[in-house]
């Protein structure tokens, strides 16, 4: 990927905004179990970071995808996993389908404020009995004239307690399986909607995760994103954006983790020399650095293909699978090389170890990535 001087200017902007608006507050937000999404998103929106690739008519920046790569890499350098995930939900997980398929009215009312940071968005797909198996969702939207009447439960929803609207996937017909689903913009001030509980998690603690309840909640049929009955397909396309940004963030996070670990091992002495003087440590770090570089350039190839308008399902699937696995391996080694200090809550690497674990589960588990690859590569009997 060719990064120009413009990309570097933009990278300085992202780094500067995050240094001012996010970094100084991470410890407090982690302790409190949530971050102030509206406040942070308003600052990011003012800097034009929330709608990079979107239509300027709705407040987007009209940038090419390579700038999303820069954004993701810099988000990965934040000292926690929760805030980057929450921002990515707003930019690349809850809004792509609305931008791509939504009506002008819907985009004016919900997308434009989300890009300004005036509204917080969530992606509501997962349910108690359907996570990676999206075809198993049971939340229903039954038509009553011009209104959807929605009932069901969504689980593990990022930004769920703070969201102003959800990109909701619900069943809108009795067809079953992959058919008969629709994406609906669901405003969270709709009567019948409630946040069931805020969930406590292994990591990503600064990001709120919620269970959401819908009890005969009524929203206009006009809130349907794109075509009624095409929700599954639209969501699958949206997942590609999710998996790409997740990979870019992971590349930034892993690069930062190696840098921080090397800096620590250069200072930390054992047996009369810096720990970094041990060839075993050097070789392990060199191997990890090489793997991160391979992933980085695979991610860049994916981004270039996406920019050319190609279907990046296979690219994004492999990238996210390998990013998740490498992050687990790398976080484990970074923690190991920190010794006892690494096991302490007060050391950054323990948080990285916890937060990084999600990547192999969220946005489609590793095993679902493998199923997709088996299908794409014709590996079935």
């Amino acid at each position: 990927m060719l990064f120009t001087e413009d990309h570097e200017s933009f990278r300085r902007t992202v780094r500067g905004v995050l240094a001012r608006e996010v970094d100084p507050h991470v410890e407090r937000w982690e302790a409190e179990g949530r971050f102030p999404a509206h406040q942070v998103f308003a600052a990011l929106g003012a800097a034009g970071l929330l709608g990079l690739e979107y239509d300027p008519a709705y407040g987007g920046q009209g940038a090419e995808h390579s700038y999303t790569v820069v954004l993701g890499e810099e988000l990965g350098r934040i000292g926690c996993g929760g805030v980057p995930m929450a921002i990515s939900v707003q930019t690349d997980m809850a809004t792509p389908a609305l931008h791509r398929f939504g009506s002008h009215e819907l985009k004016t009312r919900y997308l434009a404020p989300a890009l300004r940071g005036a509204m917080v968005a969530s992606i509501a797909v997962t349910e108690p009995d359907a996570g990676s198996d999206v075809a198993g969702i049971r939340t229903r939207a039954v038509r009553d004239g011009d209104t959807w009447v929605i009932s069901g439960t969504k689980l593990y929803i990022t930004n769920g307690t703070q969201a102003d609207w959800l990109c909701l996937l619900a069943r809108t017909s009795e067809e079953g399986g992959y058919r008969g689903m629709s994406q609906i913009v669901f405003p969270t001030d709709t009567p019948g909607f409630s946040v069931g509980r805020t969930l406590s998690k292994l990591g990503n603690r600064s990001s709120d995760t919620a269970e959401l309840w819908f009890r005969e909640a009524r929203v206009p049929v006009a809130n349907t994103i794109g075509e009624i009955g095409r929700g599954f397909q639209q969501q699958m396309a949206q997942f590609q954006n999710e998996r790409m940004i997740a990979t870019y963030v992971a590349v930034g996070a892993m690069t930062g983790a190696i840098e921080r670990t090397v800096a620590y091992l250069r200072e930390r002495r054992a047996f009369g020399a810096p720990v970094l003087a041990n060839q075993y440590v050097q070789f392990r770090l060199a191997e990890l650095s090489a793997k991160v570089d391979l992933l980085r350039h695979y991610a860049y190839a994916c981004a270039e293909a996406y920019q050319r308008g190609e279907d990046t399902t296979r690219f994004a699937t492999i990238a996210k699978l390998e990013a998740g696995r490498l992050q687990r391996e790398l976080a484990d080694w970074c923690l190991q090389f920190h010794g006892g200090a690494g096991y302490m809550e007060e050391t950054w690497v323990s948080r990285y170890f916890r937060d990084g674990r999600l990547l192999s589960i969220g946005g489609g588990a590793d095993e679902v990535m493998l199923r997709t690859l088996v299908r794409l590569d014709g590996l079935e009997p």
């Binding site: 200017s9 902007t13 500067g16 034009g48 990079l52 009209g62």
Partner: protein, 259 residues
């Protein structure tokens, strides 16, 4: 409302700086960026222009090799255009020569208000803005923490050791802005792209009607005769507490006038 902001383009402080062994001045042969201390003036200028409705911010700079890297950053923040003076004869200019050049450029711009940082973060003389004001015959207000425009006057909260003074003076005027008094905006992607097509008027000394005899190293009234490394810091004083350490600490704090 036309607001001019003086912007210095300096070597990136993130990279170790070097001195030219011949001239003993800062090596400016590499890439230059906007001096961070100028970003506050740019931000205040943009806010004043926005508040005035229809105002415009013009950047004025002097740099070697027609360098515009730092100006593009300020243009990406929202400034409308830039005037850059670049001429090989300017090499080695001291603070007063720099002020003469900036004053000549500012005279062409004809701004209602001129903003500058209190000092640059590479040269640190802190004298150029006042010299520019004197050369232009403008009132000079220094160390502003806030600036407001009220009709034909500029109202400045001027930082002092005790707090701040409120200073009013008629326009046109030159005001220096203290670093850190405002959060400068970061250029958005749109801003970065728009900056590429904003005009930068590159002027030579001849364009300004200045002869080489008034600027450059030969005309400098100051001479750098020697550059030495700063002395290494000595180790601190260790006070061993025998029960009376507090007395020594109090005495020390009184001596350095902390208490």
């Amino acid at each position: 409302m036309l607001i001019a902001v003086c912007v210095k383009q300096i070597p990136d402080p993130a990279s170790p700086g070097a001195l030219d062994p011949t001239t003993r001045t800062l090596d400016r042969s590499g890439k230059l960026i906007m001096d961070d201390s100028d970003s506050y003036g740019v931000e205040l200028g943009l806010r004043l222009a926005e508040a005035a409705g229809g105002g415009e911010v013009v950047l004025v700079s002097m740099a070697p090799r027609s360098e515009t890297g730092g100006l593009r950053t300020a243009l990406a923040m929202g400034a409308a255009r830039a005037v850059l003076v670049s001429d090989p004869a300017l090499s080695g200019s001291d603070a007063l020569s720099t002020a003469k050049v900036l004053a000549a450029a500012l005279r062409r711009v004809g701004a209602d208000l001129v903003l500058a940082a209190t000092e640059s973060t590479d040269g640190y003389t802190g004298t150029v803005p006042a010299q520019v004001a004197e050369l232009l015959g403008l009132p000079s207000v220094t160390f502003a923490k806030s600036i407001a425009l009220e009709g034909p006057e500029v109202v400045v909260q001027r930082q002092t050791e005790a707090g701040y003074d409120e200073v009013r003076c008629p326009l046109p005027a030159l005001v220096t802005v203290t670093a850190g008094v405002v959060d400068p905006r970061y250029p958005s992607f749109k801003g970065i792209m728009a900056a590429k097509s904003k005009p930068v008027d590159v002027l030579s000394l001849a364009d300004l009607g200045l002869g080489p005899e008034v600027v450059g190293g030969a005309a400098a009234g100051q001479e750098l005769v020697e550059v030495r490394d700063a002395e290494a810091r000595a180790g601190g004083e260790v006070v061993v507490d025998d029960g009376s350490a507090y007395e020594q600490i109090v005495e020390f704090l009184e001596r350095v006038k902390v208490i």
